[in-house]
Symmetry: C2
Subunit: 478 residues, 2 copies
């Protein structure tokens, strides 16, 4: 149980005094610690688990970077920070954080080099055909909605998913390398230490934290600043109920044990503002392999509702938040193939669309009507409703017809939260009047960042590492 | 500009000392002040405007009450608190606040009598045919989704919109009567006083507030408690951007000048938690007169998306949040009539559905397909897609066809926010660990209340007055 804020006058002694205290050793925390300690600040990292890694180590390891990184160039792709900026401004939802996005795009090339310099390897091979981590050790992928309507007309597309090269999974490797770098740095790591309170002066300054380790309290003074990098709140049902209750229907919560919103709650108790707490990344990876994009996604009314060639994170958002997580991917015999991810069970098969619709329990005539209109246009290579690219447009007319179950009850929705503490572009946590709370900084998914109201794969590791570095430097005062 | 929280040691003298301080004289504040002062607490109300009323005085004056109130019975309707409870639990969205809803429903009959006892008159005449304030002085209306799918199968419907009898508009009358009651009570009112900070002890207790009046600060000590009743944040663009950016597209923001979220921000600065900040009541009153419910609402893909016979607040939510505020009401010559509210301009007219669709710029064939399916079922009195009641089901086939513009750009979306400070069922403001912040209470739309993620007309005045009373009594310690 967190205890919110503590008055320094209640702290009889400090068990430890450092310059910079980092709370949480995921990707953001590791980068904050590296930059703080290398800036000359005595740095301590508290990690509630037995070792570093956090949710970052459970992820696909994709970093959304661009603007012409060494990896993009090695793979033969051109990109500019301006095109990356235009794409992100358009794709992360209403009211994007322009200043953060600008800084992120302009610093992206350097940031990639920095990540490499920490020992993280990337294989300079582009992999076509997936929307996130590839099935092999290739290093560059498409990881967003760059090539689909409407974004393809807004910004010149480039693949920006940078995936560490590894034998098995990229997320653990990324965190292995970052944690090794922290261990080699002057920063110290205190594992099995959970921050349970911030110590706050009556003037609002945060000057330390109370940690618990195996039931024992430890008071840590932070002379220069505390960086909160504790992740999101996808494991906290009460917080989900208060902000994004539909996320509770997702079968896969992408999270290490720590994603209970503890750092967000510590910040709130200290008077911090929050933003975009209703937002979550919702991945519905049914159209993988990409040939399945030739199917049509229909809702409980048998209507299409989104271009099926879009990034699976955008499809998931539409499916969950606009259609209550009730939809099916309809294919014909020509399009049918086995989905890459489990579970997307076959919900029904029929010799005719009417038979399929009946099996699915869809309203009489609705699916037939949808298919008739879709096929009529697809024959001409058109999709005037949702503008799917013609690469995936073909009439669905070869029996039998089938439908993959894409309901939250029976299929894979992978969710994590995007909202959190409000920070400025330097990582300072802000109060509701937009003023920094002295001594309190944050990065990663305990803050609202670049993917404020819309997602592309790699944006959380991307902005977590990027703004984690900045917060570490700013906390160190350098 | 608010200044957040102040340390009591900075307060050199108190200009005023009272038992209970109420911030904001809208419906919730008036009720809090009445109950606090009648409980024997010395009570002061700060109101930033020149006089009481707030947004409540600009509203339609509808109070959502039920369970068998004297007005319902006088109009010949039966209702029980259990049916009201079932309806609200189902209709206010995911993760409803069961404890608040239970208390609200069980106290509703008594609360109506109390409102009447404050001098607010209700004419015991039921008015059929509107979804909120009636065009005359009748006292009882349908004001939600009680009689439509799926709620009609969940709870026995009863009209629960209680509208004060008045010559012109009910909201001003309600507030006139409540303010008169406050003036007659022992509570004092300080108009032109804006609360700019809460005074908070290092242990978290709120013990006073700093107000500003014509540029002069005034320090007010509250011995027992402060009740924040300052309304929502529909006028604060920065807060909308952070929580519900689409609301900025609505042409009508239902608000008095004070709805800039000041009380919510004061609470946040004091460490309070917030909930449902992404939620707003969005009214799109196109199907008024009700005969227009026989039309069909279509989105930018020419698809229907909701049962047109639903309450206009639910239709507005769907239109704005799921279809980006881009939709049209399609009618034929048999259904056409002039909408009651302005502006819902005629966007296009055509002799055939195809001509109409072309004029609207809808995808080729989409509207025709939608109409064909709708008409086929409507001929049988069925709507298997959205379950509109058969009263409003008739094929649209008599030319010419027309479409009313229901886009945010060109029509009336009326919006106010629903999210705010987290309170318990006694009105105590909670921190992120669910613990009361001593001395701080709240009610009305500066808090998240009964209409947490879904609306029926009258729920804000209803729960604001109901929980305002409770907060006033609890603050007084009685």
């Amino acid at each position: 149980m967190l205890s919110g804020v503590r008055d320094p006058r209640e702290i009889s002694n400090w068990d430890e005094e450092v310059d910079v205290l980092v709370v949480g050793l995921g990707a953001a925390g590791a980068c904050a610690a590296l930059e703080a300690s290398r800036s000359g600040a005595e740095t301590l990292v508290l990690e509630r688990a037995g070792g570093g890694g956090g949710t970052s180590a459970m992820s696909g390891g994709v970093l959304y970077l661009g603007g012409g990184t060494a990896l993009q160039r090695a793979c033969g792709f051109e990109d500019t920070s301006e095109e990356m900026f235009k794409y992100l401004m358009a794709s992360v939802g209403d009211a994007p954080d322009e200043e953060k996005i600008r800084r992120y795009c302009e610093g992206s090339v350097e940031h990639y080099d920095w990540i490499v310099a920490q020992g993280v390897p990337f294989k300079p091979v582009f992999h076509y055909g997936c929307s996130g981590e590839p099935p092999n050790s290739d290093g560059l992928v498409w990881s967003g909605s760059e090539r689909v309507h409407p974004f393809v007309d807004i910004a010149t597309p480039a693949p920006r998913g940078h995936v560490p090269e590894r034998p098995a999974q990229a997320g653990p490797l990324l965190m292995q390398k970052l944690c090794e770098a922290v261990e080699k740095s002057p920063a110290r790591i205190a594992a099995n230490h959970r921050a349970v309170a911030l110590v706050q002066e009556p003037d609002g300054s945060v000057v330390g934290a109370v940690a618990e380790s195996f039931g024992e309290p430890r008071n840590v003074r932070a002379r220069r600043g505390i960086v909160v990098t504790t992740g999101g709140f996808i494991l906290n049902d009460a917080m989900l109920d208060a902000h994004v209750p539909l996320a509770r229907h997702c079968q896969l919560r992408v999270a290490a044990d720590g994603d209970d919103g503890s750092g967000i709650r510590l910040g709130i108790a200290a008077g911090a503002d929050t933003a975009n707490m209703d937002q979550a990344s919702i991945s519905l990876p049914i159209c993988q392999p990409w040939g399945l994009k030739r199917g049509i996604l229909v809702n409980a009314q048998g209507q299409r509702f989104h271009n099926e060639d879009d990034y699976y994170g955008r499809i998931g958002e539409w499916a969950l938040f606009r259609h209550a997580g009730r939809c099916w991917l309809v294919v014909d015999d020509a399009v049918y193939e086995k989905p890459s991810y489990e579970p997307f069970p076959v919900a029904a098969v029929g010799d005719t669309p009417a038979e399929l619709a009946h099996e699915l329990g869809l309203p009489e005539g609705a699916l037939e009507s949808t298919l008739e209109l879709y096929n009529r246009h697809a024959r001409n290579g058109l999709d005037p409703l949702f503008h799917k690219t013609d690469e995936y447009l073909a009439p669905l007319e070869k029996p039998p017809f089938g439908a993959f179950d894409c309901t939250t009850e029976n299929s894979l929705y992978a969710a994590f939260t995007l909202g959190g503490l409000v920070t400025d572009v330097d990582g300072r946590v802000l109060d509701p009047e937009g003023r920094p709370i002295p001594g309190l900084l944050g990065a990663g998914r305990s803050t609202s960042g670049v993917p404020s109201r819309g997602y592309s794969s790699g944006l959380s590791l991307g902005d977590g590492t990027f703004f984690g570095r900045i917060a570490g430097r700013v906390a160190a005062g350098s």
